[in-house]
């Protein structure tokens, strides 16, 4: 039963550009990109309990890195560009994260909030590189001789990368790192007492999360085609948090579901701009009050009946 559902899902994902209009292919790409961010953020917040309000900063670093590399070093194939985007984001993330991780809890969260805004401001001020407030046009991604122009080509790129990264995240649980994450989630004290080097694993989670978000940022740059620093603001970071809370902390399929709902809601409410924060805020509050485990736990409950 589940295999058929999974199979139908895969077919739908692959066949999507053949049945859907241009705009819906674009939307699907966005859903997948946000899905990668959500999975990455979930690695940090869902497993090691470090809430981040600054992931828009990582997203921005990845996006601008990919855009600038494609602009100035067009010869690089897109997988290298994306890897570079992810790597640079991870490096920046760790440079910032390592000293801040020992703060823990509330301080870390507010530090990430400050980080996100500082990144956006820095990108704005580096206007000789990023064109600052006027924004940057992102050239099409190149894969060897092929230029990935058009929504369909970009969709398949996003799909391929998303599939790889989500599969990796789902499998992390099976590795030693994953088991350590789960142990930390259950009880940090017990994990520490059992010999798990908590600090080291928290750092790893932070770096991995930054890497995922950076790669997603790079994909985002190609999908959207235009970047400006003011779009990577606190409200975007909050959107990412809503995705994982709604999806359910600690669940990879939950994060994907949360990303899908938030992205589609965001687009669907475009005509009702003024109600958007109301809906998203309401979703957060309702989730925390009535459905703390998010979609993931709600579905698990239903399946067991």
């Amino acid at each position: 039963m589940r295999v058929t559902a999974a199979g139908a899902g895969v077919v739908a994902l692959v066949a999507w550009p053949w049945v859907a209009s241009r705009y819906f292919v674009f939307l699907a790409s966005l859903v997948l990109v946000n899905g990668i961010v959500a999975v990455g953020l979930n690695l940090l917040s869902g497993y090691t309990h470090q809430l981040s309000f600054g992931h828009a900063g990582f997203f921005a670093i990845g996006a601008y890195t990919a855009a600038l590399l494609t602009l100035h070093a067009a010869v690089l194939p897109v997988p290298v560009t994306l890897l570079a985007a992810g790597a640079l984001t991870a490096v920046v993330g760790l440079a910032f994260g390592v000293p801040c991780l020992r703060l823990g809890g509330l301080y870390l969260t507010m530090a990430t909030l400050a980080f996100g805004i500082v990144v956006s401001e820095t990108l704005l001020n580096l206007d000789w590189l990023t064109r600052g407030a006027d924004g940057l046009r992102v050239p099409a991604a190149r894969l060897g001789a092929v230029t990935l122009s058009g929504d369909t080509a970009r969709y398949y790129l996003v799909l391929a990368v998303a599939a790889a990264m989500v599969a990796a995240a789902a499998n992390i649980v099976r590795t030693r790192t994953g088991r350590a994450f789960l142990a930390i989630r259950e009880s940090e004290v017990a994990a520490q007492a059992s010999g798990v080097p908590v600090a080291a694993y928290r750092t790893t989670a932070f770096g991995l999360s930054a890497f995922y978000t950076g790669v997603a940022g790079g994909l985002f740059a190609f999908v959207v085609g235009f970047l400006s620093p003011d779009a990577f603001d606190l409200f975007l970071s909050v959107d990412f948090v809503v995705m994982i809370i709604l999806g359910g902390l600690g669940s990879v399929p939950g994060s994907l579901a949360g990303a899908a709902v938030v992205t589609l809601l965001h687009d669907g409410l475009a005509a009702f701009q003024n109600y958007r924060p109301l809906v998203f805020g309401g979703v957060l509050v309702a989730c925390m009050l009535f459905m703390p485990g998010g979609i993931a736990s709600a579905l698990r409950l239903r399946a067991s009946h």
Binding site: A8, S21, R22, G132, A133, D134, F226, A231, A270
Partner: protein, 386 residues
């Protein structure tokens, strides 16, 4: 499983049900227009006024009168909060999902500039944007709405340096294409008059505090200080200069800023301020077109006070309607563009007669104003920008 398949089918049904149209945005019963504009952020007021109380105001009158060749005009707007990236995403949605015929009256130099490439690739007309950067020149489907910044700069400098003999100037400008376009244009005009820019300070888009910039500008002692800003920081500049007692300069607002709106925010600090106005006083002017505009506003939105922003949107819709009528019953984008280019000496009753040529510029004029008792009073007739 069933839920999953059902939702999949539903989504496919929605996606597949896209009606085919002769020209995008034109059906037998309606024409669809739209834009990405500011409904939040630094330009929330001006955006709301230009669209809902400007374009829509005129279109209400048109639709009530039967429409254009029997078609009603419908508008779709999305909020970009003055952010270029959002403007691009919104414009995409308008073109690909809402299937608009043309973009009308979007706002903001940086956001509009960001959408230019996309609109050109997809051959979507960009009509009368509320911005004046010269980068919109020379594009087949783009028709400017506001007097372009280089023309505005020429009028401002010709008047102050030429007629009033000012020698030293400073500029407080927004740190993006809007401010920089003016800055470049000013420098060029100063060279022609032998005047100097003694100081220039940048203000980040969206910033609210300008105290440091005003302090630095005061130290340079300019005779006139140009304000190339949005209403919020513009008002802050006036308040700040009053606070520090900087009286020996004339504050001059650039075209987009010159409206009672930012004066209202500045309160008492607004006395004696001057500027280049692109529109006649919407509340007081006796011109026939402006009176009709006021009557329409009274009829449909009686609580809304007339202002230059809604007047500019109203005018944009008026120009659109005129061109669409000339283009005839078969409305195509190419036909529409040709019809617009053919507009000669069009009497709007608001601005001097409009003649649009191959340069696609619909407005080329402005006049000088000074604040007296909270309202801008004209000091000159329409100035020339050639």
């Amino acid at each position: 499983m069933r839920v999953f398949l059902a939702s999949l089918v539903a989504v496919l049904a929605v996606v597949a049900a896209q009606p085919a149209l002769a020209e995008q945005g034109v059906s037998d019963t309606e024409i669809v227009l739209g834009c990405s504009n500011s409904f939040s952020g630094p330009l929330a007021f001006t955006g709301e006024q230009a669209t809902r109380y400007g374009v829509d105001l005129y279109l209400k009158v048109v639709n009530d009168g039967g429409g254009i060749h029997g078609r009603k005009v419908r508008t779709v707007y999305y909020d970009d909060g003055y952010k270029p990236q959002e403007a691009v995403a919104n414009t995409r949605k308008l073109v690909e999902q809402d299937k608009i015929f043309a973009v009308i009256a979007p706002q903001g130099t940086a956001p509009v500039a960001a959408t230019l490439d996309y609109l050109e690739e997809n051959r979507v007309p960009l009509l009368f944007p509320f911005q004046g950067s010269p980068i919109t020149r020379g594009k087949k489907y783009v028709f400017s709405g506001m007097t372009l910044y280089d023309r505005q700069a020429r009028m401002m400098v010709d008047y102050l340096a030429g007629t009033r003999k000012f020698r030293t100037f400073a500029t407080l400008y927004q740190d993006d294409e809007y401010g920089k376009a003016f800055l470049t244009a000013f420098e060029k005009e100063f060279a022609r008059h032998g005047s100097k820019m003694v100081a220039a300070e940048a203000v980040k888009r969206g910033a609210t505090d300008v105290s440091a910039q005003i302090a630095k500008l005061q130290a340079a002692r300019p005779q006139a200080t140009f304000l190339v800003l949005t209403p919020g920081p513009g008002a802050q500049a006036l308040k700040e200069r009053e606070k520090i007692g900087w009286t020996d300069t004339v504050m001059v607002s650039a075209g987009p800023l010159t409206d009672e709106r930012y004066l209202g925010l500045a309160g008492d600090a607004a006395e004696g301020v001057e500027g280049l106005s692109l529109w006649p006083d919407p509340l007081v002017s006796d011109l026939p077109g402006v009176r009709t505009y006021r009557d329409a506003m009274q009829k449909y939105f009686s609580k809304n006070e007339p202002n230059r922003y809604s007047l500019s949107g109203y005018f944009a819709a008026m120009l659109f309607t005129e061109a669409a009528r000339r283009a005839g019953k078969t409305l195509t984008r190419d036909g529409f563009a040709t019809a617009l280019e053919s507009v000669k000496s069009f009497e709007s009753g608001i601005l001097p007669p409009v003649s649009i040529g191959p340069d696609h510029e619909t407005q080329k004029q402005g006049f000088w104003v000074r604040v007296e008792k909270g309202r801008f009073k004209p000091l000159t007739d329409w100035l020339k920008s050639e």
